[in-house]
Point group: C2
Chain length 334, copies 2
């Protein structure tokens, strides 16, 4: 901005010998403009290298065409994929996405959102880690908000969530059939809503004879890597990571320790990021509907942007994907 003596709409109007309203009409392809004049204006605009100021358009149109997206961590392929989904949909409707990465720090989220809201027509929050009251406070921002992957109690905002209970039950049946009766869950970040949901889904899905323990981990590869030994120490024959990154981190650590997956210990995860398919063994995982997340988020937000009401919530379902990382329980004694 503030370039060298900007070419403004007035320069073009002068060059074409018309008023600036006419230039505006031509640029916006409003019907009912004399074709002769259209040509004159187009020509003048091209000659001067005129490009309308987006900022000025934003102000007078009362919209920016930007939707802000908050993600906990862009390096997590799950969010990168969801973001791609949102961007793709938004783009079709002429919107662009302004991304804020909170780096898994709940306190960073509010800061970012305040900034985002000032430039955006709407916001999409992916798995926000912030506290419930903070989340509720966002209503004051006076901007359409859609929440992805966190059911806001009291349904504050339209949201698209996933129901993984069925898929988790499938996972538990699968593990049970393989003979696993001691499971260990590697927990996610303290503030991730999905963490609690996954944990309780597991708890309510296991057979009574099965023991389920947990060990603190996090959301990234490193976290799973670091937590693997502690999980091993619980005596579990199958580790279940908060997400695929944690699970893959654990697998890496196990292999470093010379413990074979799945021969000696099984591992499963959540999300079905692309790497889950391309590692060996492939990772058994509860797959999130990633592209649908983005599509649905946009579908909820879009009418909202045009002032129309929108359905409050949409629930997708997860599915179990069985790959090589889960196998028959080994009879190791540890």
């Amino acid at each position: 901005m503030r370039r060298t003596r900007q070419v403004t709409i007035l320069s073009v109007a002068a060059a074409a010998g018309v008023s600036k309203s006419t230039v505006s009409r031509v640029m916006n392809e409003t019907p009912n403009v004399d074709p002769q004049i259209v040509i004159r204006v187009r020509d003048a605009a091209a000659r001067l290298g005129y490009r309308p100021s987006g900022t000025a358009q934003n102000l007078s149109r009362g919209r920016t065409g930007i939707v802000g997206v908050l993600v906990p961590d862009l390096a997590n392929p799950l969010f990168a994929t969801i973001l791609k989904g949102i961007s793709a949909e938004a783009e079709q409707d002429g919107y662009r996405t302004l991304v804020a990465d909170a780096n898994e720090q709940p306190d960073a989220e509010l800061r970012h959102l305040n900034e985002l809201a000032r430039q955006s027509d709407g916001l999409i929050l992916c798995g926000p880690r912030m506290s419930m009251p903070d989340l509720a406070g966002l209503a004051d921002l006076d901007v359409p908000i859609v929440v992805v992957n966190r059911k806001p109690a009291g349904s504050l905002f339209p949201s698209v969530t996933v129901d993984s209970r069925e898929a988790v039950a499938d996972l538990c049946r699968h593990l049970d059939a393989l003979g696993h009766t001691r499971l260990c869950y590697l927990t996610g970040p303290a503030h991730a809503a999905a963490d609690g949901e996954r944990w309780s889904a597991l708890k309510s899905s296991i057979r009574s004879r099965t023991k389920l323990s947990r060990v603190a981990a996090g959301a990234m590869l490193d976290d799973g890597h670091a937590a693997a030994e502690a999980a091993l120490a619980t005596g579990a024959t199958c580790l279940i990571g908060f997400n695929d990154l944690v699970a893959l981190g654990a697998v890496a650590r196990l292999q470093e320790l010379g413990i074979a997956v799945p021969d000696q210990i099984s591992v499963a995860g959540f999300d079905d990021i692309v790497y889950a398919r391309f590692t060996s063994p492939g990772l058994t995982t509860v797959a999130m509907p990633k592209t649908e997340f983005g599509e649905e988020a946009w579908r909820l937000l879009s009418p909202y942007l045009h002032g129309r009401k929108t359905r409050r919530t949409r629930t997708l379902s997860a599915t179990l994907i069985i790959r090589g990382s889960t196998g028959l329980r080994s009879h190791r004694t540890n």
Copy 2:
């Protein structure tokens, strides 16, 4: 935007019984305002829930505080990491990042850039795939531009590039010492500048006794996965992927085929994405200085945004990281 009867600066001025210029001064913490009035205005603003319109500020300030970043593919951890680096730096200077993902489609880049430029104070292009003339044409946008990871011939824009020749030479020596004399390079996307650079670095680094072939692949896991068999058919004892994703995709395919890495065939990549470390075997790779990319890009762009000239270019260097995916050449006969 266009919320329910926006609270504007005028509402606040009226409520506080002052002029809008005074409200503006208070909100911007201009010195020389009567403390009494500051309190009155602050109070009124809080009571009304006033939040200044970012759009209006953008227009009158002549800047948006947004920098646009173009990436070929957000799902590629390399770019996600670079982006995180840029965001982190930019944030410190009070800028936010508007991301456009071109999905590896060169023609999508121009479209996106035109849009980005209208809302941004500056642009950072990461490994742009577009043609040279198109790239040159961007100068017309009249916006500060910094290019990452593609040396624009004629140094059109300030750029931060990487010199991987030394590291590639290291790789070649490493492979030579392991006895590999037949290498196969899995190529990147046709329009990726890095592809040509890597290929020629390899060609000029190999010993004369070494044979180097190539097979078309791409930039993603799938591409490596799909190209693995063709690469195998060349009789090479070591595959070198255009990037780590391609290399890992190839590894996955090899393992599916029951071919052990590195016992039967070695594999190496470029970038050192986080997964390169956490797969087994770990991937030998030519590591890019990912965080430095972001930092340097910002360091070049930042003064530029304030109208100051900036140094034209900055070259970082890559380093070889040896992990388990490269091993002694096997004496298979195929």
